[in-house]
Point group: C2
Chain length 285, copies 2
């Protein structure tokens, strides 16, 4: 297994059309590679405005978005080959058997699609009406192999649930990615506390509990009622933030992530060996 | 259900003998009550030095500690009655059918023992050799009723695992307590990162994921190789620290905890209704 991996995160503002967004994504992947990235992660739904902000998305619109799926993946495969880089391709609208999924595609440095992850936890909330357009994927949280490393991929709302990241880690993931689209919603007071802080804290918690580094990549910019808060970050296996982008920063950050720390922590602290799975049945019922 | 509860935390340095420690505990409970506490939490193993620091604890020593169990509980029941306060009695050494447990006793404001929680996750680590003296309890993580509120109780090392607190919350806990004994160990470099920060962050993460306030009560002082770091805290249902004691502070803090916030967050964000338990089987195997 690799001892360390240079991870690139690409954070940007979405433009008006798909082609333009894909061009920006490709340019940022290229920039990350020039900084030494071996694996790059894009934001959730990186080719479009965050359309689930509207409750009613016409089926025709989803069809249109899904038609780009194959050609975008093809373009990204070429980028991976030419830069010899692996990619967690944020997410795209995927049509499969008359359902639409919020799907992340994993591409290795030879341009092979090594797997797909269809978002399993679908938000249903003001300005995040994904339940009105996406079906929920089913997944066994078995990691994908990229650069010889077991990689887990989850998407945005998944990050508020301890179970999917736990399952990936128990299945051997050494690194977990969360392409994301989250921000402040105008007209909603944050009476429950600081959303952005809670969002980072809960993911740092996942990193600690599971001794895995976590890479979360968000977009920036204002789209209708949402001000996306950027702040993409990488945390190490003990929850220390080792990279964090700005709220309005467009660009890439590349950070070398030590993959050996997880084993050391997990062993030293007994975070896996100390588990009592026979007592956890409530979690699955 | 109560809308809010005045929660008292009692943090102190352990003295040389059991009787003295129990006196300090009682005095602090009394102090917390004078500040309006309706429920008070003591630290883990609040009547003794943290003896599991040594690998070999003679069975006779455990027997001796366990003999105090009944009389200490009796004393605390009287305190609860006289102050009309509920108590999460940190933990004590309990002997049951030739096994020794690290056991928290829950006493209501009428002096009734409403339940016991035997620590389920037992650390086995340098200076935390609890596996050499304690058996692991089994528990279904069903909350206890104190002051009309469903209360979850876990102990120290349990706090590094997402499952027990998750199970309590799914079973209806509105508030979770963690009596604790944790500190820095001299002679061990913190090469994995900041232990104390990770300890707080992971528990704030539990609070957010489960929309429950968390109350963690640690000891202070230097005992052989361990410098206990105090820093007992209360976090609300969105992970905001609403009370935090000092590293060397002896005394009590009483904080009114709003119990309604959890429902609002859980509903608003869909943290429970959005779960996919049918996909989580890896967590219990």
């Amino acid at each position: 297994m690799e001892q360390a991996l240079a991870v690139g995160i690409a954070q940007y503002r979405m433009r008006g059309n798909v082609a333009e967004n894909v061009e920006v994504a490709k340019a940022l992947i290229s920039e990350a590679c020039s900084l030494g990235a071996e694996i790059v992660c894009l934001p959730e739904l990186f080719a479009y405005y965050y359309f689930p902000q509207k409750r009613e998305i016409p089926r025709s619109k989803l069809q249109e978005f899904a038609r780009y799926f194959t050609s975008i993946v093809e373009e990204l495969r070429e980028v991976c080959i030419s830069h010899e880089v692996s990619l967690v391709a944020g997410s795209l609208v995927e049509n499969h058997e008359n359902s639409y999924y919020n799907t992340s595609v994993l591409i290795d440095e030879n341009g092979n699609v090594v797997g797909k992850y269809r978002k399993t936890h679908i938000p249903s909330d003001e300005c995040y009406h994904e339940d009105s357009c996406f079906d929920a994927g089913s997944h066994d949280f078995r990691p994908f192999m990229l650069r010889g490393v077991e990689v887990g991929v989850l998407i945005c709302f998944d990050q508020w649930f301890p179970e999917p990241v736990r399952a990936y880690a128990l299945n051997g993931a050494k690194l977990v990615f969360y392409p994301t689209a989250i921000g402040w919603v105008s007209g909603i007071a944050q009476t429950e506390g600081n959303w952005k802080e809670a969002w980072e804290v809960i993911q740092r918690g996942h990193a600690i509990a599971n001794s895995v580094p976590i890479v979360t990549v968000n977009r920036i910019g204002v789209e209708d009622r949402i001000t996306f808060w950027g702040s993409s970050f990488i945390v190490d296996q003990f929850g220390s933030v080792i990279a964090r982008m700005g709220i309005e920063e467009e660009g890439v950050v590349v950070r070398r992530v030590d993959l050996r720390l997880g084993e050391k922590i997990r062993e030293g602290w007994g975070f896996f060996r100390g588990r009592r799975p026979e007592l956890y049945s409530r979690v699955t019922t």
